[in-house]
């Protein structure tokens, strides 16, 4: 937390080193969050870049009240939701649909690095209702509380927690082979 505050303090003064450290610190988790929510690595990278650029643009007046990671993760989740909405609102062409399906499949590099578990888990996550995916990822990858997630999803903390429990149970069933992912 102190480290976050310190990096933020330096970033406000234009430190490129602080920017690199901040980005490097959260890159993997935020990219995983975006990729899992969107199911499209290309869009996930754009979301991450967009969130950080906006963050830099407004950093001078930014006041950290919780964790920076939580704040950035919330931005990623909001941006991902907007993108999904936009993707849904326009009819996908055949080529685009094929592209999306293809991009959901892990590439050779992804497979080599992350292995079977990555594939199974991300596949199972993608099968969950979006709100459940979101709450699981925000809670486990960004350490947000159910209260904070409730604010993101505009529901009560209890509802957020229920979504989490349902989601985890469903994931458990899928990964234990009881439900076909």
């Amino acid at each position: 937390m102190l480290d976050e505050r310190w990096l933020l303090w330096r970033l406000k003064r234009g430190s490129a080193r602080a920017l690199r450290r901040l980005y490097g610190k959260y890159e993997a988790d935020l990219l995983t969050l975006a990729a899992s929510l969107l199911g499209r690595p290309d869009q996930a990278e754009d979301v991450l870049q967009d969130v950080f650029v906006r963050f830099i643009e407004s950093v001078e007046t930014f006041e950290l009240t919780g964790s920076l990671k939580g704040y950035l993760a919330t931005c990623v989740a909001n941006r991902a939701r907007d993108l999904r909405r936009r993707n849904r609102s326009r009819p996908a062409g055949a080529l685009e649909t094929a592209e999306r399906i293809a991009s959901r499949q892990p590439g050779p590099l992804q497979r080599a690095i992350a292995g079977e578990q990555y594939e199974r888990l991300s596949g199972a996550l993608a099968r969950l209702p979006y709100e459940q995916q979101e709450v699981i990822l925000l809670h486990l990858k960004a350490d947000l509380t159910f209260r904070e997630i409730g604010q993101v999803q505009d529901v009560s903390p209890k509802t957020a927690e229920s979504r989490y429990r349902y989601g985890i149970d469903k994931l458990r069933s899928m990964l234990n082979g009881q439900v076909e992912p």
């Binding site: 102190l2 480290d3 505050r5 310190w6 990096l7 303090w9 330096r10 970033l11 003064r13 234009g14 430190s15 490129a16 080193r17 920017l19 690199r20 980005y23 890159e27 993997a28 990219l31 995983t32 990729a35 899992s36 690595p41 996930a44 990278e45 991450l48 870049q49 950080f52 650029v53 830099i56 643009e57 950093v59 001078e60 590099l109 992804q110 690095i113 992350a114 578990q117 990555y118 888990l121 991300s122 996550l125 699981i136 990822l137 486990l140 990858k141 985890i168 149970d169 994931l171 458990r172 990964l175 234990n176």
Partner: protein, 282 residues
């Protein structure tokens, strides 16, 4: 059979692979955004008094003052997470920056030092982002005063030993030039950049004037060594020491102490009063 906790752990460990090319591309975009941010920020910033001081006979004072910030802030760049230190350095940096004004004493010796009566001579500096006043003392006698009010565009020099003074209106060009060239110690960003090249090590704790302090030592690229001692309880710098070898064998030393942080400085309080018998310089 996986339990809920196993699933949670799996999600926590889930990592989307990041390839180096993507990382570099995004970081490149972010650095561009940071550059734009810096430009916007620089354009909106208030003027500083640095350059004019550097051009004055009081150069050393300004340098010393700059070094305070350079050492303090430069060290912070490297300390980062405060590991191994009882002092929360990020908090110190924030306090120093947030202080609306500061008063401190400077003592120095070395070749070319106009304050030749070391160790009896000293200077008192009062400063905030637009005001700057320095008083030279020899023993208890005030010797010289120089004052800048950037907001009021006023510059005053007083030679108390000669009973003369100079009062001038600062031109916009001069202020603009100061903004472009000069970065006084009140500019954390400039000082931070200056301090980036400094290496440091912790000095541990010692009591200075009854105050328990924690110190750090840094060596600059020019070979100068700076030490900053921060009060453990207050979290503000208490003593700054600078040492430098000039011309191969002349040791130049300077200390800054007797800090008063969070002082509200107003032009009407800080502007020097010119005694009636002083004559203006042409």
């Amino acid at each position: 059979m996986k339990r809920a906790r196993d699933i949670e752990r799996m999600v926590q460990d889930l990592r989307h692979p990041v390839d180096g090319q993507t990382h570099d591309r995004i970081v490149g975009h972010l650095l561009d955004a940071l550059k734009r941010y810096q430009q916007t920020r620089a354009a909106a910033r208030q003027p500083h008094t640095g350059r004019i001081i550097m051009k004055s006979p009081m150069t050393k004072l300004a340098v010393a003052a700059a070094i305070i910030g350079a050492v303090v802030l430069g060290l912070f760049e490297f300390i980062g997470s405060d590991a191994g230190s009882g002092i929360v350095w990020a908090e110190v940096a924030r306090r120093v920056e947030a202080s609306p004004g500061v008063i401190f004493r400077i003592k120095e010796n070395g070749k070319g030092d106009p304050n030749e009566q070391w160790p009896n001579g000293y200077r008192v500096m009062q400063r905030n982002v637009t005001l700057s006043r320095m008083d030279w003392y020899r023993g208890d006698e005030i010797h010289r005063t120089v004052y800048f009010d950037l907001a009021g565009k006023t510059e005053i020099w007083v030679a108390h030993d000669k009973n003369v003074y100079s009062r001038q209106t600062m031109s916009d060009e001069k202020i603009q030039k100061m903004r472009a060239d000069g970065l006084g110690w009140t500019d954390p960003q400039g000082l931070l950049n200056l301090g980036l090249s400094l290496e440091h090590h912790a000095l541990g704790q010692k009591t200075i004037d009854g105050v328990l302090c924690e110190g750090i030592e840094a060596t600059g690229p020019d070979g100068s060594t700076g030490r900053v001692w921060v009060g453990v309880e207050t979290g503000y710098p208490v003593l700054v020491e600078i040492e430098r070898i000039v011309d191969g064998n002349v040791r130049h030393t300077g200390t800054m102490d007797q800090f008063q942080w969070n002082v509200g400085l107003l032009p009407e309080d800080v502007e020097p009063e010119i005694p009636a018998d002083y004559r203006p310089l042409e």
